[in-house]
């Protein structure tokens, strides 16, 4: 039995180009206060290709964060399935192939920027020399060279979030999951970071799943925009973003961009 080595299932899936496969997934939160249960997500099916930049966009309560958390194995689906590279999300999480960026930067305020970026590598037992080199490389990538020895409260909100991104990228994850990472930032900083994120994405070549409630942001960044609607949370449309790459902020002034924004906006149901 064991002499015959089965080819890893992942190869087939990777060749297929599908990295994350979600089939008929539902998440239901039982309401403990006695009311009915809440359908956070119903019958969601979605394929995300390797290297693709996909946004999940929708109003509050549409389940976009729940969907991201389910992919990350931070939330158990009630029914349906998710496979990531042919494996379960848990297996992928235990292999530490997810990099997650949260709504707030979640930096440890007792650690400098450098040591925050270093933290996941410490958990993985990566030798110190390699950690130091990677931290420098990551801080360069997010344009924070020279700020490594600052503590979080000495950095602006945008810088803190960039440290969060550097930390997520430091363990060289296969998939980057971002949960409204820029929602707390001002418009100027957000647009700048959007542009930077695209340049990071083109260098790092990761699959990115990006949650946002900002339509313009989702169109600017993505290959595809997945539009979710609430009550119950569901996918109401998937919009292909055909804008050429590399994209710069000027693309926002084109009629094509405006048309796509309208298309996404008109896809919402029951808001």
């Amino acid at each position: 039995m064991q002499a015959i080595r089965k080819l890893p299932e992942t190869d087939a899936v990777v060749n297929d180009g599908v990295e994350i496969k979600i089939e008929n997934m539902s998440v239901r939160f039982s309401d403990r206060t006695g009311g009915g249960a809440i359908d956070a997500l119903t019958n969601v099916s979605l394929d995300i290709r390797q290297g693709e930049f996909v946004s999940l966009v929708g109003p509050s309560g549409c389940g976009k964060t729940t969907l991201l958390r389910a992919i990350a194995d931070l939330q158990e689906p009630t029914s349906g399935s998710i496979t990531v590279r042919g494996q379960t999300p848990r297996e992928i999480r235990l292999q530490k192939k997810f990099g997650i960026v949260f709504q707030n930067p979640v930096l440890y305020d007792w650690r400098t920027a450098r040591r925050n970026v270093c933290m996941p590598m410490e958990l993985m037992g990566i030798p110190k020399q390699q950690r130091t080199a990677t931290v420098s490389e990551m801080l360069d990538m997010v344009n924070l060279q020279g700020f490594g020895f600052k503590y979080p409260h000495q950095l602006s909100g945008g810088m803190q979030q960039r440290v969060g991104i550097a930390r997520a990228l430091a363990i060289k994850p296969e998939i980057l999951l971002m949960d409204e990472p820029f929602s707390a930032l001002d418009e100027f900083t957000k647009e700048k970071l959007n542009e930077e994120l695209l340049s990071i994405w083109s260098k790092a070549k990761k699959t990115i799943v990006f949650v946002t409630h900002n339509i313009s942001e989702s169109v600017f960044l993505s290959d595809r925009v997945v539009v979710l609607s609430p009550h119950p949370g569901r996918i109401s449309a998937i919009v292909d973003i055909t804008l050429p790459r590399p994209r710069h902020l000027a693309v926002k002034d084109t009629p094509e961009f405006s048309a796509l924004v309208s298309k996404v906006r008109n896809s919402f149901e029951g808001v």
């Binding site: 958390r69 931070l74 235990l94 997650i100 440890y108 007792w110 400098t112 958990l123 993985m124 409260h153």
Partner: protein, 266 residues
Amino acid sequence: MRNWKESWNRFSTVFYPILFGALMITLWQTGILHKILGADTFTLPMPHRIYTIIKENLPVIMQNVQATLIVALGGLFLGSLLGYLLGVVAAIFTKWGKGGLTLASAFNAIPIIAIAPILNNLTKDVSPNANIRSMVAKILVVTITSTVAMSVNAYRGLTEIKPFSMDLMRSYAATERQIFWKLRLPNSLPFIFTALRVSVPGCVISALVSEYFAEYIVGVGRQIRENIVLAQYATAWAYISVACLMGIALYVVLLIFESILLKGRK
């Protein structure tokens, strides 16, 4: 503008207390304070006389200071260690832990005057040396009085984790042990200092009071009592002043440690 205000704030927190102290000592030394309180210089000697006594008896006073410091710091260390460990246990078994700590807080309500004689009695067979067995009894008193503050604060520091911090650790598949060392323990550090800000002054007071009831006559607190009994009020006041200085000195040391160890935090 803001910087100016900030530095004035920092300056005034030191300046006002010193100004107040200087004013009191001036009133005291000029005898105005005696008139206000209706006291005489026998029961309330002049500051310069207290100072002279401290200077002339420095070697003896330092022996007593040493005895009191061993009790205060020994008890503080043991009590804080025990308190922190209780906090860790409560954080591991959250279900019972929180209730257990509430129960433990009741211990704080027991007055030192009540436990000191009891512990004296309980430790009478610990050592044939009266000095040592008194030391053990006194340290135990301080241990008990500084445990609860630390356990409650340690529990809070270990469990009050910022939102998403846990998700972050889980997303990296961190083990419970890693979560403890990398997240919970450093998160609890400011809470340790919150506890110490209460228990450092507390440990000096507990040490002084426990000495009153100890079998062996030594320590700053005991000397206050002995000298009052002998109506040597000037000497008693010398020890009272030394006791105050000890408390202040320990608090300053604590603040220095805090500023070093919490450097960089908000």
